[in-house]
């Protein structure tokens, strides 16, 4: 990871290698590119090798970590992609026309286009709390999580997704932290933390997650929090002002 490495230049070179191999079976372009860009030589070689060769299977330490990541994708990763997609659909990013009429157009999510739309009216309920936060703070979820204490991206997603199982005291605490960090009034956050948002109900899934969390403890367990952080949030379980 050289300081001088221009990531965009490298990415474009890697894209050339990838397309040359996958589209034309060209295995020698890396030599040409490495000659033209010797500073990226090792990156180009390694990338091509990774394209052609599989990583080793059944390597204990990696296997266990990857199994956990697989579960994380199923429990939180999908929600992260959904939240990002819903937000980005305010201005659709697609680069080309759909080849076919999407059979699911009727499922299109009626996302409120009010950028600062704070009104959590019934028809605006599809805007989740994390979407609301991202719009109001104009920051990505990881940045938001970083600024708040004792939270992770996964925790924010889970709270946003299942506010109905989050104790009142916990919701108050997290809404207060948001208010302190960005001046967003507690009641505005609460507008999104009173009921499960309709846009993320399990009924809309083709296949359920492993299982939706039924209790706050289960939610905490899925939120990639440390034991200390879990203990922190549990202290607010029975506190409500």
């Amino acid at each position: 990871m050289s300081e001088k490495m221009n990531l965009e230049v490298l990415a474009q070179l890697l894209a050339k290698v990838e397309r040359a191999w996958i589209d034309n079976g060209d295995r020698t372009l890396i030599y040409q590119l490495a000659e033209q860009h010797p500073e990226y030589r090792e990156h180009l070689y390694e990338f091509f090798e990774d394209l052609v060769l599989e990583p080793e299977k059944n390597v204990g330490e990696f296997d266990q970590a990857e199994e956990r990541l697989d579960r994380w994708i199923q429990s939180s990763g999908i929600d992260i992609a959904r939240a990002a997609a819903i937000e980005s659909r305010v201005s659709p990013p697609t680069t080309s026309d759909s080849p076919v009429q999407a059979a699911s157009n009727a499922e299109a999510v009626p996302v409120s286009k009010k950028d600062d739309g704070i009104d959590p009216s019934p028809e605006a309920k599809v805007v989740t709390w994390v979407m609301f936060l991202r719009r109001r703070t104009r920051q990505g979820l990881p940045s938001i999580a970083k600024k708040l204490e004792n939270v992770t991206t996964e925790y924010l997603v889970q709270v946003s997704r299942h506010p109905n199982i989050v104790p009142l005291g916990v919701r108050q605490r997290i809404a207060q932290a948001v208010e302190q960090a960005w001046g967003i009034p507690v009641h505005e956050s609460f507008g999104f933390l009173t009921a499960a948002p309709s846009a993320v109900r399990a009924a809309s899934r083709s296949r359920a997650f492993d299982r939706e969390p039924n209790t706050f403890e289960e939610l905490l367990a899925r939120s990639a929090l440390t034991q200390e952080q879990i203990s922190f949030w549990l202290t607010f379980r029975n506190i409500a002002k």
Binding site: V17, R27, L53, S104, V109
Partner: protein, 285 residues
Amino acid sequence: MSSEAGQLIEQVFQALPPLGSDDFLSHIETARVCDLPPEVLVRAFRQLPADSAAAEAVVRRLFRRRDGVWEYVSPLVAYARRQSSKTRQCTYEDLLQDAFRRILEALPGPRGDFAERSWNAFCRRELIDAWRERFGRRGERLPREESLEPNDEDKATQPVSSAEAPPWHAFLEPNKIIMIERVARRVLASISDEFVRAVAREAWFRDERPNISGRSQDRVSLTSLFSGKSRFQIMRALRHADAQLVAALLMDPDLELSPDVSAFLRKMSARPTRLSDSAKEKKNE
């Protein structure tokens, strides 16, 4: 992206069942990796309603792991393994999760446009960014005693699957051996680095593939043959050469992907992800 590449992806995309239909969901679930390029999945995801079951199914497929194999992020995983080995710490899971998160967040937005054209290059870029975010551009947040440079001995303990692949003699019929040796000699001649070429020659043309290191009465090791080089350097060279050989074999028009050849390629850890490989397989079925 070249127009040819664009056409290929376009063709597969156009051949998809109507986005969001039951047929689409079934296709996304069952299509082989080599018949369904990741760029097509990304494009479908970016066009589907954000909260639809179909969009979710597409993301699940992109990140599907079956029998310990990630179908579309294997190159990313291989790279993350090597990167994490540089820190001597249990950062692998964190680093890969950071990269996954970045990818998931970027896919629907402007950055995801790149993924519609070159999925693996896009993933690699996100992982490099994740690494920088965690450790700093110069690795200044790495634990003090750690170096950014690869540690030879550590790297040497990293498994390189192809290093253990046996020579083709043990697997193939005589006519296939001749054919593969012809391809191997052609690949050997095309490798410009003298050391890589020498390692490949020793590994490919002995009756029995040498071990990387170790002492054995029966087998010579590559570290003894190349005494001035470290295990890491030898493994690195061998991996580079093996990738070139596998690529050349996959592309050879005369080499039929018969069961024994396919088995051999699997032993070499070849990734069957190219559309033309799929066509070749079908032709030979």
